[in-house]
């Protein structure tokens, strides 16, 4: 713990550095110890199994285990978006050698920082180069190489690299690589075993294919989630809040469709690889779009329209399919309560009516609400949640959670990121941990695929300077020597 000192804060700039991890250590409270968790295991008479699980699955053991895709070569080219980056990161986390190509000026995503605040960019401790946090977080285990594929020499180098790869991820606009003569059509002639994945917003073909503005600006998320009704269906209804003041269709806080597309890109590519390796297949082209992969997981929404012409509207924190299954405002935030089956439904009631006796009378004694399916009717949702929110109005999140958990319910508050990072279970696993990087120690989320007996995913490094791996990769992948790389750098090719 550093010693106390007097500081004067006149502007936001004065606070930079006061919050860093060496000053404000993480976590604030230590994670639970095994001795604290053991009684949890014992209470359910599952100690032996849980010990076995900890011995075999623990996050801390990931480095000692195999890397699934070791030896596989993946080339990734793209800008701006997270779709191709998330896909490339999954390959990197599972052990493939991933090379990401950026133009010599770097991916513009590197420059993005919340509200344009440069003081929140990360600085490489060794070189002083700055990079935005989003880029660093979404490029896991990828080698950063620069190449201008719009030059003749750049294309020759790109072709030489593509000749030797198993997977190529293309995150460029539709037809861009093909127009340069280095797209799937041309590369498959020399490398017919290559699996080529194009990842974008809406498609490389079709009436709504990806567009650019006349100045060359790209379509980024949430264009994809606006195109598949996801945005239209998310948010609070105008009956709950005035339109223009919260009662509107709402985008996700993250570039959601990009993550879905990246995940499906990885799944499809590995399936194609299985076919290639195990069933005597060849390489092939795969096309994954954010709009469609997100539509793939849009519950039943479009099917519902086909069924009876229903157009799904917005229902805020409520779910139109289950009751109770929602979050509602409470005294200090929002509280999520879930319990659909009769057992859980009445348990919620038993808990609430201890303090709010009318809840039992109005809910349990309503004959309409006694049948599980019938409880999903809109007016039933309105009645249930109005009364639940009445109880929550005077209850804190922690009080509500404690009381509801006594009744074996799945209930929990909406947590902000500081609370997420201090959540005991998250720290025990850990799902959020401090990773040492070139940018100093960073608090990051671990990969959910890291908990495996044999070959867990893992983060080795994140982010890197523009062209940080030029010498190593060009030598290894194309045989270009340092002198030659320097020469090309002079010419602006690398």
């Amino acid at each position: 713990m550093p010693e106390k000192r007097d500081i004067e804060i006149n502007s936001r700039a004065d606070t930079i550095g006061l919050m860093d991890m060496d000053v404000r250590p993480y976590p604030v409270t230590p994670p639970p110890s095994y001795d604290q968790v053991k009684p949890v295991y014992e209470r359910r008479k599952a100690l032996e199994f849980c010990d076995w699980a900890e011995d075999n699955l623990r996050f801390e053991k990931r480095y000692a285990k195999d890397e699934t895709l070791a030896g596989l070569r993946v080339l990734d080219i793209g800008l701006w978006r997270l779709g191709h980056k998330f896909c490339a990161s999954l390959f990197g986390e599972s052990g493939a050698e991933v090379v990401s190509i950026e133009p010599p000026s770097g991916d513009p995503l590197r420059k993005l920082t919340p509200f344009g605040r440069e003081e929140y960019m990360l600085e490489n401790k060794f070189t002083g180069e700055k990079c935005g946090m989003e880029f660093v977080n979404e490029t896991v285990n990828t080698h950063c190489v620069t190449l201008d594929v719009e030059t003749e020499e750049g294309r020759e180098i790109y072709k030489r690299m593509a000749n030797n790869v198993d997977v190529l991820i293309d995150g460029m606009p539709p037809g861009y690589m093909d127009g340069l003569g280095i797209g799937y059509r041309q590369l498959k002639e020399v490398n017919p075993r290559m699996i080529y994945i194009w990842i974008g917003m809406l498609g490389q073909w079709g009436p709504w294919k990806d567009k650019q503005s006349k100045f060359g600006q790209w379509e980024l998320e949430p264009f994809a989630s606006c195109a598949n009704s996801w945005v239209h269906n998310t948010g609070l209804a105008q009956d709950l809040l005035p339109r223009g003041k919260g009662g509107d269709p709402t985008r996700s806080g993250i570039w959601l469709a990009d993550y879905v597309a990246g995940g499906q890109g990885y799944v499809n590519a590995l399936a194609a690889m299985y076919w290639r390796e195990e069933l005597g297949g060849t390489g092939q082209m795969i096309e994954v779009t954010g709009a469609e992969t997100l539509m793939d997981i849009l519950d039943f929404d479009i099917t519902w329209y086909g069924f009876n012409g229903s157009i799904k509207g917005r229902s805020g924190g409520w779910d139109p399919n289950l009751n109770q299954y929602a979050w509602n405002p409470c005294k200090d935030g929002y509280m999520m309560i879930g319990g659909q089956t009769d057992k859980l439904w009445y348990n919620i009631g038993f808990c609430l009516e201890r303090e709010f006796t009318q809840f039992g009378r109005l809910i349990h004694e309503d004959p309409f609400l006694k049948e599980m399916g019938a409880r999903n009717a809109l007016h039933a949702l309105i009645k249930t949640y109005s009364l639940t929110a009445r109880w929550l109005r005077d209850t804190n999140r922690v009080e509500a959670e404690t009381k509801l958990l006594e009744y074996q319910l799945a209930a929990g508050p909406i947590l902000y990121i500081d609370e997420v990072c201090e959540f005991p279970h998250f720290k025990y696993r850990p799902w959020v941990y401090v990773h040492e990087t070139d940018y100093g120690p960073l608090l990051i989320a671990s990969s959910p695929s890291s908990y495996q007996v044999r070959a867990p995913f893992r983060c080795k490094w994140m982010g890197r300077d523009v062209g940080a791996d030029n010498y190593e990769i060009y030598l290894k992948w194309t045989g270009l020597t340092q002198t030659k790389v320097n020469e090309l750098k002079q010419k602006g090719v690398i």
Binding site: L122, V231, T234, G244, A271, N376, Y416, S446
Partner: protein, 471 residues
């Protein structure tokens, strides 16, 4: 390569090898893509996971869909449900409105609710009660024949019945075992979980929705996105494990917690808290890192006379994006905000919070007397990026998804016509496309196929089990 330099083979020369290939090379790229994906002929091409067999001991959305991905890719998947009851999602439907009944139903009261949609296509449906020791023996017989399973029960439950990875790997060392649930080992190991709990607990809800000062609330993503996206990432782990097994001949166990998935997708949120102590808040329909890049409200609806309120009142939103300097300049020129361009020439200035409030307010003022399509058209005609926010009907009617085959009708022999928006939309593959054979089948529809034809159990025995409700 010891090739005779005097011999010239056409195969060795660069360029097209045949007339067909030459045409393919000359084809516009878009047409080429359309040709190789060959929408509508998916079933004529090979299945990439042909021969993989997977057990789906699953319910709800999260774990079933991790197997559905495999089934769409051509694996043979068997879903095991509780006798008589089946998956709880079969009894779930939006506002309790929509149930589908098999055209040849022997039990007419058991319709299947739309909540069951998309999580179980192409699977075979088996019933089995694991509480019966006799059935556990049968289960072992399946484990010997299958490559893996996905289950979702509370940790230790299947271990109690000697059906956990510890036991199954003795029977079949190549077995890949997946547990999918909320939390996994640790203090909350026995905590139940839903999609909505994942959204709430892991930080996603705290950054989705309108800002408090705009009067908004933390907002649920419309779909069970954490269930679905976690299931896709389970499939990613399964595919990686299958590749590991190809090399080592060893199975594995994967423990996958859905509550963790949203945190992994929060981008810079966690790091920003760790390094700068800043707790990220909601920023509504705008973007914290780009401006202009947000959804605006227009004054008039596109369909003022429509009957459906979603068309009538909500067709008023447009996504507008002009964050690069030239685009922003053009946007300001068209919308009469030149003074704002002068004020916020640099991106880092216009992306500041106060600037965003000012710019979007001005944009909405400009759009106040226009419809959604007018706004989109004006901006598109000027070469800028703007798209209406579409609803379910517009997605259904979209020529784009129709042409790409990602929204299409399925004529199911049991349930009749059903509109599909999943499966084909999870990615196009040129040579081994994904496909949907059927959407779902009734509870226990394939008992005979699996118990009798695969395991050789006499039909009389199966009848006896059925009468005792073992299956």
């Amino acid at each position: 390569m010891a090739k005779d330099p005097r011999v010239t083979n056409i195969e060795d020369l660069p360029g097209p090898k045949s007339k067909g290939e030459m045409e393919e090379w000359k084809m516009p790229y878009e047409e080429y893509c359309k040709k190789i994906f060959d929408v509508g002929n998916e079933h004529a091409k090979p299945r990439p996971l042909q021969g993989i067999k997977w057990l789906s001991c699953t319910m709800y959305i999260f774990t079933p869909h991790s197997v559905a991905n495999l089934a769409e890719l051509g694996a043979e998947c068997v879903k095991i449900e509780m006798p008589r009851m089946g998956d709880a999602m079969r009894h779930t439907s939006p506002f309790n409105e929509c149930y589908l009944y098999p055209l040849h139903d022997t039990r007419p009261m058991t319709g299947t609710g739309l909540g069951f949609t998309n999580a179980n296509p192409n699977k075979y449906f088996l019933t089995m009660d694991y509480h019966i020791p006799e059935m556990v023996e049968i289960f072992y017989g399946l484990v010997k024949k299958f490559d893996g399973l996905t289950e979702l029960y509370r940790p230790g439950t299947l271990d109690k019945w000697k059906m956990s990875y510890r036991y199954l790997s003795e029977i079949n060392p190549r077995f890949i075992y997946v547990w999918g649930g909320g939390f996994g080992y640790g203090p909350k190991i026995f905590g139940g979980s839903y999609d909505i709990l994942g959204q709430a607990h892991a930080g996603l809800a705290s950054i989705t929705g309108m800002h408090e000062y705009m009067g908004g609330h933390a907002t649920k993503q419309t779909n069970w996105v954490i269930d679905w996206q976690s299931s896709n990432l389970i499939t990613a782990s399964i595919m990686a494990a299958i590749h590991h097994r190809r090399k080592t001949n060893l199975g594995t166990m994967i423990e996958f917690s859905q509550v963790q998935v949203p945190t992994r997708m929060l981008g810079h949120t966690t790091t920003m808290y760790g390094k700068f102590g800043i707790v990220r808040q909601r920023w509504g329909n705008w973007d914290t890192q780009l401006a202009v890049h947000g959804i605006i409200l227009c004054g008039k609806s596109d369909f003022p006379d429509a009957e459906n309120p979603q068309d009538k009142f909500c067709a008023r939103y447009v996504m507008v994006s002009a964050f690069q300097d030239a685009d922003f300049k053009e946007l300001c020129a068209i919308t009469g905000m030149n003074e704002l361009y002068e004020k916020y020439k640099a991106h880092k200035n216009r992306v500041e919070g106060e600037a965003q409030v000012e710019i979007y307010t001005a944009l909405e003022r400009w759009a106040a007397d226009k419809t959604r399509s007018q706004v989109a058209k004006i901006l598109q005609d000027a070469g800028l990026l703007a798209e209406p926010v579409r609803n379910d009907r517009e997605v259904y009617e979209s020529p784009h998804y129709r042409e790409r085959g990602t929204v299409r009708w399925l004529d199911d022999p049991l349930f009749g016509d059903m509109l599909l928006h999943a499966g084909y939309s999870s990615g196009m593959m040129e040579k081994t496309p994904r496909r949907i054979n059927w959407h779902w089948r009734p509870v226990g529809a394939d008992n005979k196929k699996i118990y009798n034809e695969m395991l050789g159990i006499p039909l009389s025995k199966i009848q006896e089990w059925y009468d005792k409700a073992y299956i």
